[in-house]
């Protein structure tokens, strides 16, 4: 049950988890690198310069250049901006949309609930990547469009989770008790249902960030990602993998490492939030 000391307890449990704190620090550092980095290390990420293609690291280009002559270190920052913006935008939009839909379905119940759930089942029945491959045939992808598409395909699990949570909470004794005491519907939703469902919502929001970044990288690998000169880490990586066996290691390892580190960090945070929210695991 939600009490005043609960947030502090959750924060304390989270802080004890060193891996999660490290994850949080890592995300902060990577975000700083991507968004503040270009101020210190400005590079040209717009015009192709074939004369400067595939130069090894060192000298003017700290991490070398790619086949189009882009500075790899600078491109990690530019690509990271796209990957991170996409991850966070999709996560926020997904959470708002999914939570609202799930809460409405769970509170409404009956036929409305059944219909709303069948809509979710339908879209979930087709793999998101499959729907995306169809959709990028019909629309031209840019960052905004891909954020929109990923949101439309990612809000379903959280809607289902929130609905389930609302359904269980609705029947719990403490909710029945405040209802008997004459609490209004709005009071119940914001004072009792929301704080109790927030755990599921936050955990899901965290994992949505990493899923979105990975899905964009899969799209880039299939050649259906962001159009050049825009880039994301997945696109840099899949482009670099073409040269994996030719000795151009700086085209492969930097994007691979930063991509995996980011996703691992986000997942560590999500895992720790889940553990911190779960009362049963607190006293093993």
């Amino acid at each position: 049950m939600a009490t005043a000391e609960q947030p502090r307890l959750i924060a304390a449990t989270f802080a004890q988890n060193r891996a999660a704190v490290a994850g949080l620090g890592l995300i902060a550092a990577i975000t700083l690198f991507c968004f503040a980095g270009p101020l210190i290390y400005p590079t040209n990420q717009v015009t192709v310069q074939l004369g400067l293609a595939k130069l090894p690291p060192g000298g003017r280009f700290t991490l070398g250049t790619d086949p189009s002559g882009y500075d790899v270190l600078g491109r990690l920052m530019a690509g990271g901006q796209c990957s991170l913006e996409l991850g966070f935008a999709v996560s926020v939009a997904t959470t708002v949309l999914g939570t609202a839909y799930g809460a409405v379905a769970g509170l409404a119940g009956g036929i409305a609930d059944a219909l709303m759930m069948r809509v979710i089942d339908t879209v979930l029945a087709v793999p998101a990547l499959v729907l995306l491959l169809i959709l990028v045939n019909v629309v031209t992808p840019d960052l905004g469009v891909i954020i929109l598409l990923l949101t439309l395909l990612s809000w379903l699990p959280i809607a289902r989770l929130v609905r389930g949570e609302v359904l269980t909470l609705k029947t719990r004794e403490f909710v029945q008790a405040v209802k008997v005491m004459g609490a209004t519907r709005r009071w119940i939703v914001f004072r009792h249902l929301a704080p109790n469902a927030i755990g599921v919502i936050v955990v899901n929001a965290t994992f949505t960030v990493s899923d979105a970044i990975l899905t964009l990288s899969a799209l880039s690998f299939l050649g259906l990602g962001l159009p050049p000169p825009q880039a994301d880490w997945g696109g840099m990586l899949s482009g670099g993998l073409n040269y994996l066996f030719d000795g151009y290691w700086w085209l492969v390892y930097p994007p691979a490492i930063i991509l995996i580190l980011t996703v691992v960090a986000v997942n560590l945070i999500g895992d720790a939030v889940r553990d911190a929210m779960d009362v049963r695991l607190r006293h093993p």
């Binding site: 087709v126 499959v130 729907l131 299939l222 994996l244 691992v264």
Partner: protein
């Protein structure tokens, strides 16, 4: 149980109908795009009109959908623009190969993940747990294509143990005749699932171990092995079964990537090639087949759930 089954199958039918509508509408959002994709960018308006009337694309959308449904009911999924073959034949060729690939990968994943998750739960927060958690996190955080290419780099280029291309035989027995070439595609798909299955098994087993009935069983003096096999394993299996059923779409998405990397002649590769060449009948047909498979998969998981958990008795609300 019967009432539950009937209701559940009714729901499944509604979802299949929904998938048909959804896919059809998506593909026909932009009229004329199919003609331009097949005939090239410099095609004249006249040629587009001829193409559209040949394939019935100039009729109103609801009528196209009606005739599409009538054809689907007769088992006809249309003709591929690019390959000029019936879509149903293309899918019928590839589906058995995918059952082999996905079935082997999922079985391997469960075979590794269940004992691994249980081991981690028993050794919770000790070095062994940390090592496997680290490995699972890294695998889970890798793009599928990177994992596939890393496996090729190690096993094909460095060690020269396995071929980098999946077997190209047309039949399932033909695929099985070259098992070495199957190892890497199966392993790629399995490793991705192991990462998530073992996480679920671990937390599910931790939950179970904290239950009172485990304490009771221990107090009764049951052997550790009996407790693990009869109480912990069976009760921890439930969420994992659900997850395995629900992760079917994710496995299919992984298959699109893995089939592209290893050139495995399955549905994923067919679908990807159709997506890049705007081959709408193939896109539509294979999405419908995948959708129906997912619905059947979830249904099977639900029924398995009811069988595994005696507390769940559907039928009354």
């Amino acid at each position: 149980m019967t009432a539950f089954l009937i209701r559940r199958i009714g729901q499944a039918a509604a979802v299949v109908a929904g998938v048909l509508v959804l896919t059809f509408v998506l593909i026909h959002l932009e009229p004329g795009s199919a003609a331009r994709a097949v005939l090239g960018p410099h095609v004249t308006a006249g040629r587009i009109a001829i193409f559209n009337s040949t394939y019935g694309l100039n009729e109103p959308l609801y009528r196209q959908f009606g005739s599409y449904l009538a054809e689907v009911a007769r088992g006809n999924l249309g003709t591929s623009y690019a390959l000029q073959q019936p879509v149903s034949a293309l899918i019928a060729q590839r589906l058995p190969r995918d059952l082999l690939l996905l079935g082997a990968a999922t079985a391997l994943a469960l075979l590794i993940a269940l004992p691994l998750g249980l081991y981690q739960a028993l050794r919770r927060n000790r070095p062994g747990d940390y090592v496997f958690t680290g490995i699972a996190f890294t695998l889970y955080s890798m793009p599928d294509f990177l994992l596939a290419i890393a496996l090729i780099a190690v096993f094909c280029v460095q060690l020269r143990l396995l071929p980098p291309e999946a077997p190209q035989a047309t039949t399932v027995t033909g695929l099985l005749a070259d098992p070495r070439a199957l190892i890497l595609p199966v392993l790629t798909l399995a490793l991705v699932s192991v990462a998530s299955f073992s996480r679920y098994m671990r937390s599910s087993a931790i939950d179970t171990l904290a239950q009172d009935y485990i304490r009771v069983a221990r107090a009764k003096g049951l052997s550790r092995r009996l407790i693990l096999a009869r109480h912990v394993l069976r009760n921890s299996l439930l969420p994992v079964v659900t997850i395995a059923g629900l992760s079917f779409p994710a496995i299919v998405a992984g298959a699109v990537i893995a089939e592209e990397v290893f050139n495995f002649p399955g549905m994923g590769l067919l679908f990807y090639q159709a997506a890049t060449s705007h081959d709408f009948p193939v896109l539509l047909g294979s999405t419908v087949v995948v959708g129906i498979s997912t619905v059947i998969g979830t249904l099977a998981a639900d029924i398995a759930y009811a069988v595994l958990d005696p507390r769940i008795r559907y039928g009354h609300r």
